[in-house]
């Protein structure tokens, strides 16, 4: 067997790997945030725009959902300079990831908005809200509840999709692992550590996602009927009851 714990632990505590993981985090957050903005705009254009505006949104969604992110990234970083558009690595990575994400989020957001009862719009209008006020105060907050779970899954995906930016030499977790692998040829150890980092990031996100979902469910879910303390007590009691039964 040729597994080296020494290298494994060396990579596990390696500052270079840590910096790569940190880059993965901020690259994901920034790309997701911009993607969310693009998604909201594209969804609005598709739902409320005139024919031309709708067509533009549909074309964008079709194009970016229909092609691999890898190609999108390579075209932006290595292809666009041919047309005189030069973006650096970070700009290219963010732009590519955000554009791709926005196309997926547009559909999720559109579905979320459509899930809000039509009567809500009537009610909001009847108290005199303008389109912006209705969107901002009534429709989007309710759509958020539907949007949050798939949005969380998209972010989970984003954390891992950023690894594709390694092909345009974005120094995130994957790229840094590749570089370390080329120094010592400890391929299994270094990629195992990289995989662990991804697992850690995704798991932490999972916990955050749970909290966010609970927050948005609060007005709707049955848990809102009782206080959080009471809910905890009830859960304990139910666990006890379950335990004594077996």
């Amino acid at each position: 067997m040729n597994w080296s714990w020494t290298f494994f632990f060396e990579y596990l505590t390696n500052g270079f790997m840590f910096r790569g993981a940190w880059t993965t985090v901020w690259l994901s957050v920034i790309s997701m945030t911009i993607g969310l903005g693009l998604g909201v705009v594209a969804a609005m254009m598709k739902m409320y725009g005139n024919a031309a505006v709708r067509y533009i949104a549909e074309f964008y969604i079709w194009l970016f959902r229909g092609t691999p992110v890898l190609i999108q990234l390579i075209i932006i970083y290595t292809g666009l300079p041919q047309l005189g558009i030069r973006l650096n690595v970070i700009e290219s990575a963010i732009l590519g990831l955000a554009l791709n994400e926005g196309a997926y989020l547009a559909e999720i957001i559109r579905a979320g908005i459509m899930s809000v009862d039509k009567g809500q719009n009537d009610a909001a209008r009847s108290v005199g809200m303008t389109w912006r006020e209705r969107m901002y105060l009534v429709i989007l907050p309710q759509a958020t509840r539907t949007i949050i779970p798939p949005l969380g899954n998209q972010f989970n995906g984003m954390l891992k999709t950023t690894s594709l930016a390694s092909v345009i030499s974005m120094e995130e977790l994957m790229r840094n692992a590749q570089m370390l692998a080329q120094i010592n040829f400890r391929v299994l150890e270094v990629y195992s550590v990289a995989a662990l980092w991804y697992l850690l990031l995704v798991s932490i996100w999972g916990l955050i996602q749970q909290r966010i979902e609970a927050h948005y469910e609060k007005p709707f879910g049955p848990a809102a009927a009782i206080s959080p303390e009471a809910a905890k007590e009830l859960k304990k009691a139910m666990q006890k009851a379950g335990a004594t039964k077996v």
Partner: protein, 276 residues
């Protein structure tokens, strides 16, 4: 409108039928509305005076909801004129010509009319008190503390003072509808429109909503109420209107409407509604 209860003298003075009505506040003239080739409103005209309570009834599909929605600009009309609370609803007059208003201008007009829906349509993502406060605070930009005090008064007035922090889904249908009335009143509308406010309620909850509405009428609110609750019509209406096929076919004070209707449609309608 103030949200204070009127002095006892005013209350006593509202004993029916002698009720002093004010100037016309809703003027509906030759209103037309079609969905595709389905002509839902054909030439509807009606005048409602300040403080008047008009009950509209008629069988399903006769255009009752559409009429209310047109008055409140939830639908745009295809012809005719609607004036309400001093606004030419949905339009602006410019050199004798009509220009359709933009969304924000329509919203400004809508603030002066209140609407209560069959399905309550409370905002489920915020608490009861926030439902009531949202429009005055976020749209009229009035101070929160002042609006909150008024919202509490309104909640007391609809009999739900203890529910301010509940979420809508924690309330019964009757309670939700009463909150919906409070939400509409929070904008201090000059006219209240009710579209079958009790049809979605369990029978035992109907009266708690109707009581609030009767109270409102005693306080001088101008109300247009689509309902099949003939008890309410008898107790509170100054006029009962029957719609049929997108037209008004009968328009009379309640006693005449119920005992001596002129239209065959009304006779048929009454025989159906009174038989069950």
């Amino acid at each position: 409108m103030t949200i204070d209860a009127p002095p006892p003298a005013a209350r006593a003075a509202t004993s029916r039928p002698a009720k002093a009505l004010g100037a016309p506040i809703v003027l509906i003239e030759n209103v037309q509305k079609a969905f595709g080739d389905n002509h839902v409103l054909r030439d509807v005209s009606m005048t409602i005076r300040q403080g008047e309570v008009v009950v509209i009834c008629g069988r399903s599909g006769s255009g009752k909801s559409t009429l209310l929605r047109c008055i409140d600009q939830l639908e745009t009309i295809d012809g005719g004129t609607i004036r309400a609370a001093g606004h030419l609803m949905g339009f602006r007059e410019k050199n004798g010509k009509r220009v359709a208003l933009r969304d924000a201008e329509i919203a400004r007009q809508q603030r002066d009319l209140g609407m209560v829906f069959q399905n309550f349509n409370l905002f489920p993502h915020v608490s009861v008190i926030e439902n009531i406060m949202m429009a005055p605070v976020r749209i009229l930009k009035r101070p929160r503390a002042e609006v909150k005090a008024e919202a509490r008064e309104l909640l007391a007035r609809v009999g739900l003072p203890e529910k301010e922090n509940a979420y809508p889904r924690q309330l019964s249908g009757g309670q939700q509808q009463r909150v919906a009335i409070a939400r509409a009143l929070a904008m201090k509308p000059q006219v209240m429109l009710f579209d079958e406010p009790t049809s979605a309620l369990d029978p035992e909850m109907i009266s708690e909503v109707l009581d609030v509405m009767v109270d409102l009428s005693h306080q001088g609110m101008t109300m247009i109420v689509v309902t099949h609750e003939m008890g309410f019509a008898r107790a509170a209406a100054d006029r009962v209107v029957l719609m049929h096929g997108g037209e008004i076919v009968e328009e009379a004070p309640p006693e005449q409407f119920f005992t001596n209707p002129r239209s065959e449609h009304t006779k048929l309608f009454l025989s159906k509604i009174l038989s069950h």
